[in-house]
Amino acid sequence: MTPFAPSPAAPAAERRGDAVRAFRFLRHRVLRNTLTSMMRGSRLRFGMIAFCSGVFWVGLFGLFYGSFEFIDTYGALSGEFVEYIFSLFFLSLLIMLFFSSGILVYTGLFQSKEAAFLLATPSAPDRIFAHKFTEASAFSSWAFMLLSTPMLVAYGLISRAPLGYHVASLAYLLAFVLIPGSLGAATALLVARFLPRRKKTVLIGLALVVVVGGIARLSQVWQAPSEGLTSEWLDSLLGRLSFSRHPLLPSRWMAKGLVEAAAGNASDTLFYFFVVAAHAGLFYLFASTVARDLYRPAYSRVQGDRTAKRKTAWYGFDALFHRAFWFLGRPIRLLILKDLRTFVRDPAQWSQFLIFFGLLALYFINIRRLSYDLQKPYWRNLVSFLNLGVTSLILSTFTSRFIYPLLSLEGRNFWILGLLPLKRESILWGKFVFSAGIALPATELLIVLSDSMLRMGTFMTLLHMGMVAILCFGLSGISVGLGAKMPDFKEEDPSKIAAGFGGTLNLLVSLVFIASVVTALAIPCHLYFVGQDDSGLGSGIIDRAQFTFWVSVAGAASLVIGAIATIVPLRIGIRAFQRIEF
């Protein structure tokens, strides 16, 4: 050992600390080391993720290319119609990025050990904010890039845009990301400073406003006054979407600028780009100033407001649960009870579940007010399948956000579970039953509600109920299985686990699964109901006998797909989980 000899009058620092350079060094080294260890240790996983992302990108590109090509045949590609599409698309992303950036910045600045470490260094609060903001923006916007680039490239090719359009669209995207990111981050800081105890209420309130507003708008949009696919119908539809083209919305500037860039109009392209970039700069400056002045006091307030709350015991419920689910192994029942407690005691989980499913229920209850039940069988069938699709999509976001990270979060506590006298696979089965047990009653109830409001027949209601059951088991299997196959034991923030590569892959696989099951059964139903009149008579493209045959085939195919989606990921997950060393 070499004795340590401190300088008797050592200067605290010899020159001004350069936090910018320090953070640049940190980001560069962390990125380089992460990539190197990924390439060395898990080349297959890295390759699989890159391949899946590539396939997803190409798939989306094909979808957008086909859609733009279709629109182009009506000569509407260069007009207002594309502006509407872009405006709506970027408005949705604006809202999503606002929430995701806000949540990630809040977690990074107030709940991470890194924040405490950095706050004890000479780094200024706005520098720490800049570092965490960059990290949060990268996390929250890579999926945004994956979604938006295929659309913009496809539009550029179909509209025969000049090369400059593609460069401009990239610059537009980068500037655009900063707007919702900065606003979300500034909101997170203000909430932490002034409402540290009400942060969840604020989040839930904001989400509620957005979702209720969105549903109200959607229901207006769906109330088309005339026959579909006529110019009158299109004008009416566009009129109802005009809110997305408000001149003060950044999504409108994006849409306008990109359309002008594709048309080769350089001056307008630059003008709108500067509008977007100037606002991005302004909002970032605002967020950074808020961080400079409020981050330290806000951090202190957030830490000071963590008070312990005594929880009531669940003995009666536990006994009832054990009796009701006697057919499950006792270890599995105990694990489910543990997860149920966590679910109930984490408002982020149950509130989101309640908000989304509650709002869907509200919409389904109001179906008759919208007179959907009086429409032709063709429309009622279409709406019933759309309702089923929306329910499944919301369920997939729930399983991706909350069920997928469960195993990763369990890893840190594995010393407890690992010492218990139970098989490792029981842990996975416990998660699966927990997920399906929550999802199944909620979604079945919604679908029965939707179908009864739409006055669907018994056969169609039973068919939809069967589909929902398949989807619940499949989505639970995918999330639990992939969560065990690609765990992230280092990350403590479940939203980051869900937003990472594995979480996104899980969401993509879930979407493909939903699309396969819903499409398989929706097609024969659509072909059967398409020609029926109000009384349910008249002939569709296929007759009753053909309908029965094809629904049976599609039902069998859905069952097979559902079984594969449930069993294969779970088997992969169990095998991987049994090999993991903690």
Binding site: A5, A12, E114
Partner: protein, 264 residues
């Protein structure tokens, strides 16, 4: 160097620190003792500027706690220190060097010196994610010392360290204090406080119960025993303990150990 005057910190209705006065001079090693939840960590976080006091004044080197000037003087080693998992130990130390804006050539020499002091040469170029707890602690101590702080705040310094590493750290504290650094150290290991501290402060429920040298504390409390019994007396920890009685193992009437054999 560290001055807390009438400091109170409330978390909701709970007083974590209640009218605390505490002074640590340059060159003094202050042992900060107290039962779990007494307010030691909260006090240290206020000195570092991580928490702002509800009332009272906290100053470091004459500067308000949390000010950039105060933070330049401080090195803080929390009970659960943070390391970037995807950096090597050396890269982490370089990051700290950059953060404090130290002269590269001088900091480079200092870095090598600390690598030798804490015997990290075998692992300093591996990623921190592969380190044991003790290895991480050594890197954290090195990072705390690399900018030559004037005030050292350490929360539970010896947790997870092997005997040799613990010896290194204990010697380090003494040499730091002798060189003029103010050291504020919290610990539950009373023998460490007894062995190292120039001054001992005992807190409970946010209030300072007693402060002084070990001899002064003994004199004031009229108690001549070891620090442990003095501490338990002051904090009310000498009340009767409900002893745990392990269940009897069937078939074992009595067991006694003789040499390497166990007789039943």
């Amino acid at each position: 160097m560290i001055d807390l005057i009438g400091v109170t910190k409330r978390f909701g209705n709970k007083f974590a620190v209640d009218g605390l006065d505490l002074h640590v001079r340059a060159g003094e090693l202050f042992g900060f003792l107290g039962p779990n939840g007494a307010g030691k960590t909260t006090t240290m976080k206020m000195v570092c500027g991580l928490l702002t006091p509800t009332s009272g004044t906290v100053r470091v080197g004459g500067f308000p706690a949390g000010s950039p000037e105060a933070r330049r003087l401080i090195a803080y080693v929390p009970d659960q220190p943070y390391l970037y998992e995807k950096l090597t130990g050396r890269e982490f130390l370089r990051f700290v060097v950059e953060m404090y804006g130290l002269d590269p050539s001088r900091a480079g020499r200092k870095l090598e010196e600390l690598v030798d002091t804490f015997e990290m040469r075998d692992f300093v170029d591996d990623l921190c994610e592969s380190y044991s707890h003790g290895m991480k602690q050594r890197v954290v101590f090195a990072s705390a010392l690399i900018h030559e702080p004037r005030v050292m705040i350490i929360d539970e310094p010896l947790v997870g360290l092997d005997p040799r590493s613990a010896r290194i750290v204990k010697d380090l504290f003494v040499s730091l204090a002798r060189s003029g650094v103010a050291v504020l150290m919290s610990t539950h290991l009373l023998s460490i406080a007894e062995e190292l501290a120039d001054t001992i402060g005992i807190v409970e429920r946010g209030k300072m119960l007693a402060v002084g040298t070990l001899d002064e504390l003994r004199e004031r409390s009229a108690h001549q025993g070891p620090l442990e019994s003095l501490f338990l007396k002051l904090t009310g920890g000498d009340r009767p303990i409900h002893a745990y009685e392990p269940p009897r193992v069937d078939g074992v009437l009595a067991a006694s150990a003789t040499g390497e054999e166990v007789d039943r």
